[in-house]
């Protein structure tokens, strides 16, 4: 796995804005916990101090999930910066996680 080089990347991660992320999980499922852990790690690495993660349990809050158009879990939604991005899965594929959230450009 290639190591990220945040200093050399010019992505949304560099603009200094506050990131707004939501993780939709079901209860305390292992996949959900895994996703939260993976997301936190990536954020710490690339967005330290500039991010906010909201955790929604869709089992206790299905209407919120419906309103937010969430059908699968775990799902991470990047609400800001726009455009909205949706990442489905436990985020174990860190390349896809970083690319999906645009924390890093595709490896060149």
């Amino acid at each position: 796995m290639s190591k990220p080089h945040p200093a050399n990347d010019s992505t949304a991660a560099d603009t200094g804005e506050q990131w707004d992320l939501v993780v939709y999980v079901t209860d305390a499922s292992p996949k959900g916990q895994q996703a939260i852990a993976n997301l936190r790690r990536a954020c710490e690495e690339h967005l330290a101090g500039r991010y906010k993660i909201e955790i929604v349990d869709v089992l206790t809050n299905p209407r919120r999930a419906a309103a937010d158009q969430i059908l699968a879990a775990p799902t991470v939604v990047r609400r800001f910066p726009t455009p909205i991005r949706k990442l489905v899965g436990d985020l174990s594929d860190s390349d896809r996680l970083l690319l999906g959230l645009e924390l890093r450009r595709s490896a060149s």
């Binding site: 939709y24 079901t26 499922s29 996949k31 895994q34 996703a35 869709v58 089992l59 299905p62 209407r63 999930a65 419906a66 158009q69 969430i70 059908l71 699968a72 879990a73 775990p74 799902t75 991470v76 455009p83 909205i84 991005r85 949706k86 990442l87 489905v88 899965g89 436990d90 985020l91 174990s92 594929d93 896809r96 996680l97 690319l99 999906g100």
Partner: protein
Amino acid sequence: MDSTMLTSLTDAPVGPGLEKVPTGIQGLDQITGGGLPRGRVTLVAGSAGAGKTLLGLNFLVAGARQYGEPGVIMTFEESAAKVALNVRSLGFDLDELQRSGMLVVLAFQLDPSEIVNTGEFDFQPLFAILEDAIKQVGAKRVLLDTIEVIFGAFGDKAIVRSELIRLVRWLDDRGITAVLTGERGDRGDGSLTRHGIEEYVTDCVIVLDHRVTAEISTRRLRVVKYRGSAHGTNEYPFLISAHGFTVLPITSVALDYAASEERVSTGILRLDHMLGGGMFRGSTLMVSGTAGTGKTSLGAHVVNSACARGEHALMVLLEESPDQVLRNMRSVGLDLRPWVEAGLLRIWAARPSAFGLETHLAILAGLIEDEKPSVAVLDGIASLSNGVLTTEVTSIVARQIDLLKSRGITSMVTALGKGEDVSTVAVSAMVDTWLQLGNIEANGERNRLLFVLKSRGTSHSNQVREFVLTDHGVELVDVYVGAAGVLAGSARVTQLAAERDEDLRIAEELAGRRRELNRSVIEREAHLVALQDQLDAERTEIQRIDLRAGHQVADTQADRSEMAARRWADDTIHNGEPR
């Protein structure tokens, strides 16, 4: 596949314990023997625009409105506004149904470009949302439209598959009657859906098809599988109209129409006579004939007489405009306009090419629904065949006739056809009475002839009649059948005139002869009187002579005796010969 041995059925036997949920879709409940399997998942597969969504919506709306079964609509394709629009096209207000707590609409718009797959996932939120919505209204029916979108949006097909199988089981466990719509597969391996799994996990599979033949589209429905139940296996045309989704089972020509003994006049007295008193109410009469044989006029008579009886009539014109027909009929002395104005007669016209065949059927169904006519005339059904395969036209016509019969409508269809060609023969099996109008061409003119080819349940005339369009409607006239063959038109008139002359001549001749004989009789009678007089005179004369002769003898005797006495003569003189 189940029950392939059943080729046609309208009341499919229901397996023990298999409860069915009516879809409210006319025809579909008939071929499935009551509807969809209760508490099971039904897959409705079809290509884009085949009508899957509408079938599903119809099922849900019917549940909410007619059967007191609330429902949840979950769509992955359209916005909630679009779903509401679709429902409104069926004539129902979705908002109203939602407000009254009978329906929940959940619309998801999944954009694959927005979704990145980063590992393992499941559809737990979908289940949770569905569960919540089901609880919210106490749903008995669920529509998921369409599952392909989920396959497309979430990359991992293995997960999507297993989750969908889980969803079907989940719905089954909850006793929900669900419709899942799926895109028709194009993999060429015979699978019904693109991913080829849904049909194995569901209990009932309905395939919709949208075929375009000769630029005219026909929608068809087929029940491919129905676990535990017999079902009609044919392809049934269906239509989508303002009245919703209608399936028209051709084989529902179930022959269970009530047969009326009542006779309905065709408006032409002599035709009624030919048919033994008119058409039976609720029966179907077909008039076939080549162009310009007067089929439409005959139809106009039928509706005219219905309206004159105060009944509602419907006239469907496939070849001419209403104004054209009104004008033409006025020229033969039939003014239909007052009936139209009085609201008794509805004339509807459209060129067959303007719509697909099934649309025609839909329109007819709609008109029947609106007008509730007791008599209907379909003019020019054969023109439905403009470029379309005959079998399709035949089946559509058969369905139209079926529709009319099932409503107990006395109907007349006119078909362009030369004699007993294949298509008219195929349709003729459906009709009760078949009239054939023909032209005969002779001596530089064409004349119309009418025959009754068949008429069920009535003794009917086997005679040919000449069909004459006069300025006071259609008249049927006996044709001249003689040594010169069948004569009609001027030939008939000429022949009749000649016959009249001949009759007159003979009559005069006879009168003359009679006069002559009369005279002779009188003469001879006078003669006879004279002869009798003469005879009498002669007889009297004879008597007189006889009398005189007697006196003479006596006198002579006396004289002779006196003389003998005087001469002293012997007695012998009396006995012997004179000397």
